[in-house]
């Protein structure tokens, strides 16, 4: 177990070096989120009406954080396909190391990168006026929950990538999965104005639970909830959904990896 961890750690180091060697990618994971915060917080913020005193700037931050976590599906899926199409996977698999460490290394590295993105966004959010009101611990818990989501999305992405094994198909499918998850939720708009059935879907969307949970932890207004269980109890719902998702995708991705790597 400790061996598997140290192997994974060495492979995380490998991904970090990659990022340093590819300034365009570093720019991507830094500039994109800044642009998101500015566009949503500033431009849309003046037009959107949300409940509470903080206004749209406060409301939207948790939503953008969640959106960035969702994007981990694509990041990891594409990365895994790249690894698979490279002889390196054979090299690693022929070493006496834990076979899971290649996948763990990738998902952990992607989680580290998304944590960096989060930190940049939080900084920019602060500059345009976003505040967390519940103290350090709860704020950290909010970020922890979001990162847990990012990690779960990475494993989901790994599973998708290892099943499809084709970069274009992976990007297309990941997009199709992400769109409804992000937009049929309370990430960007309060659910009050939605027609009944759409509202029900959005209330049960796990992304809504994570977003509401982080808003609660940050002390940002989350608007009225419609009475559905996940909307009333976002923190336990988010935790359970994410843990179950990880518990399901990790072994499935592990199996898909063995199959995919052997069949190259």
């Amino acid at each position: 177990m400790t061996e598997a961890l140290s192997d994974s750690f060495a492979l995380v180091g490998r991904q970090m070096r990659h990022i340093r060697r590819m300034p365009e990618q570093l720019l991507g994971i830094t500039v994109m989120p800044v642009a998101l915060v500015v566009v949503f917080g500033y431009l849309f913020g003046s037009a959107m009406q949300v409940p509470g005193e903080g206004g749209y700037k406060e409301y939207i931050m948790a939503g953008i954080f969640a959106q960035v976590m969702l994007a981990n599906i694509t990041t990891t899926a594409v990365g895994v396909v790249g690894d698979l199409n490279n002889g390196l996977v054979d090299r690693f698999r022929a070493l006496p190391i834990s076979r899971s460490s290649v996948l763990v290394g990738r998902t952990v590295a992607d989680a580290v990168l998304v944590a960096w993105t989060c930190a940049v966004m939080a900084g920019v959010g602060y500059l345009i006026g976003w505040r967390a009101h519940n103290g350090v611990l709860r704020t950290l818990a909010g970020f922890g929950l979001l990162l847990l989501m990012g990690f779960a999305m990475s494993w989901l992405g790994a599973l998708i990538g290892l099943t499809l094994r084709n970069a274009e198909a992976v990007s297309a499918l990941a997009g199709v999965v992400m769109m409804p998850l992000a937009f049929l939720s309370n990430a960007f708009v309060p659910l009050d104005g939605l027609p009944g059935w759409l509202r029900t879907i959005a209330e049960w969307n796990p992304v809504s639970a994570v977003v509401s949970a982080s808003r609660d932890l940050f002390g940002n207004e989350r608007g009225t909830s419609g009475g559905a269980f996940p909307a009333e109890h976002p923190i336990p719902t988010a935790l359970v959904v994410l843990v179950v998702l990880i518990a399901v995708t990790v072994p499935l991705a592990g199996r898909a990896y063995q199959k995919a790597a052997a069949q190259r």
Binding site: G87, R91, A94, P96, I97
Partner: protein
């Protein structure tokens, strides 16, 4: 442990294509086995099975003293693999590539660094050590790949087409680096499409085609099988052909092979220089001036062609086997029919 690699009845099927149809191999410790075969013969599949990357449908193998199915991790701890496509991380430097493997092998940070430096020197990569591997030439990449497979000092080394696609100089350099490992006592299984490569590096050769070992033996045994060395005499006039045939028939036991179209007669070189001088004296005595008087040493091209029915890398080898023509390699002619040999041939 006297046998470093032994495999019995390896079979692997992809869909309805039988990639391996019962491969048997045995490699004595400290020796080099060349697995020679055309594209699609099953070389890579064999290597991937023996290196635990792929599970066979049937068959068993023992590698470096460990059973492949029961102790895959021990097998992995004792082998090095250089796959068909260079497996280096392009965005890492040569040094970082080797250090990463060292860390994964638990040499410790300092140990990994020291081993990387040592290998960079051994494989002539010092100048390029701190450049990203994506800037490397094909030969440098291959050398780095080979170095990466040696970080753990494995006693058994698998090389899948190690020089395919390299220029001559890089190939010679790599050959020398492989020989150095063999001198150090490493057992090597290498696959190749190059007959010359197997001849140069291997103690024994297993010829495989369509997932079967169709012949195995030392390079010399395989060559002898196709007829060994022959004395070939060509003449300018048809009338001289009969004279030369009669003369050579008197020099060696057995019938000379006659190629009417090329006006060439050949006999096995049973007595080496003795046969040559007797033939030369005989021809001089008869007053025949041959157009060509040469020893034809059958190459592995001949072996390959005779066994697989496929052309080797020398066009001349095909020329010599046009149907309906006497076969200069005489005794091998009955083996020239493509894919008639199904059972493994003891040499």
């Amino acid at each position: 442990m006297e046998t470093a690699i032994s495999a019995e009845g390896l079979r692997k099927r992809y869909g309805d294509h039988q990639a391996l149809d019962g491969i048997d191999l045995s490699v004595p410790t400290g020796s080099v086995l060349g697995v020679l075969g055309p594209n699609g013969a099953g070389k890579t599949t064999t290597v991937r099975i023996l290196t635990t990357l792929l599970e066979p449908d049937e068959g068993r193998a023992v590698v470096a003293g460990y059973d492949l199915a029961a102790q895959p991790r021990q097998v992995r701890a004792n082998i090095g693999l250089t796959g068909q496509y260079a497996a280096v991380d392009e965005r890492l430097t040569g040094r970082e590539n080797l250090q990463l493997i060292g860390v994964l092998l638990h040499l410790g940070r300092r140990g990994a660094r020291a081993r990387a430096t040592e290998l960079l020197e051994r494989f002539d990569l010092v100048d390029a050590a701190d450049r990203q591997a994506k800037t490397y030439s094909g030969g440098m990449r291959r050398r780095l790949d080979l170095a990466a497979s040696l970080v753990a000092r494995p006693p058994v080394l698998f090389l899948d087409e190690p020089t395919t696609g390299l220029d001559l100089t890089s190939r010679l350099t790599l050959w020398e680096m492989i020989r150095e490992q063999v001198r150090g006592g490493v057992t090597v299984l290498l696959t190749t499409q190059y007959l010359e490569e197997a001849d140069q590096l291997a103690d024994r050769i297993a010829v495989i085609d369509r997932g079967l070992v169709i012949a195995d033996g030392t390079p010399d045994e395989l060559k002898r099988k196709v007829g060994g060395e022959r004395l070939q005499v060509s003449v300018a006039e048809d009338t001289d052909l009969a004279v030369v045939t009669r003369c050579l028939a008197g020099v060696v036991p057995g019938e000379p092979a006659v190629d009417l179209q090329n006006r060439t007669v050949s006999v096995p070189l049973t007595d080496g220089m003795g046969t040559i001088s007797a033939a030369a004296a005989g021809l001089e005595g008869l007053g025949v001036e041959p157009e060509d008087f040469a020893v034809h040493r059958s190459s592995l091209d001949d072996v390959f062609l005779a066994l697989t029915g496929q052309q080797g890398r020398t066009p001349a080898a095909r020329q010599a086997r046009r149907p309906g023509q006497p076969d200069p390699a005489g005794p091998a002619e009955d083996q020239a029919a493509p894919h008639t040999i199904k059972e493994k041939q003891a040499v």
